[in-house]
Amino acid sequence: MNDNTSASQKAYLAALQRQKHWVTFFQWACLGLFLLLWEVCAALGVIDPFLFSSPSRMVRSCVELLSGGELFYHIGITVFETVLGFTLGTILGVGIAILLWWNPFLHRVAQPYLVILNSLPKTALAPIFIVWIGNNMGSILAVAILTSVIVTILNVLNGFLSVDPEKQKLIATFGGTKRQLFFAVILPSAVPDIMNALKINVGLSFVGVMVGEFLVSKAGLGYLITYGSQVFKLDWVMLSVVILALLSAFLYRAILYLEKAVLRWRE
C-alpha cells in the first residue's frame, strides 16, 4: 500500500481484514464447541461414551493404535488405494473421452450406455468384483476406478465438445489435421474440465475404496470401521471417520496445487 491511499480506503481494507478474521474465528469456534459439547455430554452421561465415543477416548485410541504402528498401516493402505483409484480412473476416463471425441459414431453408440452407467450406483457391483477378481486389493481398486471413470468420461467429453466450433474452423483454415486440432485447441481448452474431474474423483474414489474395504475386510480405514463396529470399539470407528475427513481435505488441497501447476505448464 502506498502513502497516498485515502483514509476511507484504509478503513475499508481494515474492515475487510476484520471480517476475514471473524469468519476464521467462528469456523474454529464451531469445531471447538462441538468437540467440547461432545466431551461434556459423554462425561456427564447424557450420551453413552461406549456407543458415541468422545474426543478424549478418540485421542486415547489414536495413541494406542499409533504406538502399535497399526494406524499408519491402515491409513497408508487407504491412501494408496484411493490415489491409485482416482489416478487410474481419471487417466482411463480421459482416454475413453478422447476416443469418443475422435469418433462421433462411437460416441453416439456409447451414449445410452454412458447415461445408464452414470446413474447406476457403481458400488452395487462391488460384490460381483470380489467374486470375479478375488477378496483382495484388486477388487477394491476396481470399485474405486469404476466409481470415477464414468463421471470423468462425461465431464471431459463435455469439455471437449463445448469448444467453439469456430475454433475448429480456425485450425481448418490453417490446413490443420484433426490431431493438430486436438493437441493445439481441444485438449488445452479442456484442462480445467480434467482438473475438475480429478477433484470430483477424489471423493468418489474414497466412496469406492470404503465400500471395497468394508467387503474385503483385510486392511485400511474401511476395515477399521467395519471391524470396530462389529466388536463395539466405537472409538476406532469415530477415529477412522475423522481421519478420513482429514485425508479427503488433504487430498483435495493436493489436487488444487496440482491444478495450479498444470495450468502454469499449459502456458
Binding site: D164, E166, K167, K169, L170, I171, A172, T173, F174, G175, G176, Q180, A184, V185, P188, V191, L263, R266, E267
Partner: protein
C-alpha cells in the same frame, strides 16, 4: 489484369435432416490483385458460405472457384479466437505452427509484424490483457504470418463494440493496404463495406444471387474514417440500402 480469384456460377446447398437449403443460387465475380472487395447482403444470405467455398473449406454444389496459380488464401473469422493460455506471440505463431512452417525465420517475421503494428510490447501478455481492437490485430497478424495473397475477412469486426469497431476497421484495412494484399470482406454493415473497400458487391437474400456491383470512389478519402465523411458516401449508402430492400 489477371483475376486472382474468380467464381464461375458458384452455388451452394446445405443438407440437414429437415431438408435441403439452397444457400447460394448462382454467384459469379472476379477479384483482382490489390483490390479490397466487400460482399454485403442480408443476414443469413450465404455470404460466409461463399468465403468458405473460396477458402476450400466447403466443396461447391454447382459451378467452381478458380484461384490464380500458386496463391495462398488466408482467413479471418468473426471473433479473434485467440487461445487464452497462449501469449500473443505464441498466438500469432499458431497458423505457422499448424502449417508446420514455424522456424527461426518465420518467428522473426512474426516479431517484425508485431512490432510494425504496435503489439511488440504485448507479445508476452495473455489475450485477456488486450483490448478488443488489439486482439483483432493480433488475429490478423496470425493470418498474415502465413503470407497469404488473398485475405478472406468474415465479418471480422462484428463482435466488437461500435467505437472499437470503427477503429479496428481503420487499422485492419490500413494493414491490408500497406501489406498490399488482396482482400474479400464479408459484412452486413453497409457503411463498413463502403468505407473499407474498392468495390461493393450486393447479394440478394437467400438463395443468394449477385444483385449489383458498386465501384467505390470517394474523393480524397484515404482511410475508412475519412471515407465516412465524404459527400458521396451517403449516395452509395442509399443505393445499397435500396438494393438490400429490408422491407421486402
Amino acid at each position: 489484369m489477371e483475376a486472382i480469384v474468380r467464381l464461375h456460377g458458384l452455388g451452394l446447398d446445405y443438407h440437414s435432416a429437415q431438408g435441403e437449403t439452397r444457400a447460394v443460387e448462382e454467384v459469379s465475380f472476379a477479384v483482382y490483385p490489390g483490390e479490397l472487395v466487400s460482399l454485403v447482403g442480408p443476414s443469413g444470405c450465404g455470404k460466409s458460405t461463399i468465403l468458405s467455398a473460396i477458402a476450400g473449406l466447403l466443396p461447391p454444389s454447382r459451378g467452381r472457384v478458380e484461384l490464380a496459380e500458386g496463391i495462398r488464401v488466408g482467413y479471418m473469422l468473426q471473433k479473434d479466437h485467440l487461445l487464452e493460455w497462449r501469449t500473443i506471440f505464441r498466438n500469432a505463431c499458431l497458423g505457422l505452427e499448424i502449417a508446420k512452417k514455424l522456424n527461426a525465420t518465420t518467428k522473426q517475421e512474426v516479431w517484425a509484424l508485431l512490432e510494425k503494428y504496435g503489439l511488440a510490447d504485448f507479445a508476452f501478455r495473455k489475450p485477456s490483457e488486450l483490448s478488443g481492437g488489439m486482439r483483432q490485430r493480433a488475429a490478423l497478424i496470425r493470418t498474415l504470418a502465413l503470407k497469404p495473397d488473398v485475405l478472406l475477412l468474415d465479418e471480422p469486426f462484428s463482435a466488437l463494440d461500435y467505437q472499437t469497431r470503427l477503429h479496428a476497421a481503420d487499422e485492419v484495412t490500413g494493414i491490408i493496404r500497406s501489406e498490399q494484399k488482396t482482400a474479400i470482406l464479408v459484412t452486413h454493415d453497409i457503411s463498413e463495406a463502403i468505407a473499407c473497400s474498392d468495390r461493393v458487391l450486393v447479394l440478394s437474400k437467400r438463395p443468394a444471387v449477385l444483385k449489383n456491383t458498386y465501384p467505390i470512389q470517394l474523393d480524397g478519402a484515404k482511410t475508412p474514417f475519412q471515407a465516412r465523411e465524404s459527400a458521396d458516401f451517403h449516395c452509395y449508402f442509399n443505393q445499397i440500402w435500396k438494393d438490400l430492400d429490408y422491407h421486402e
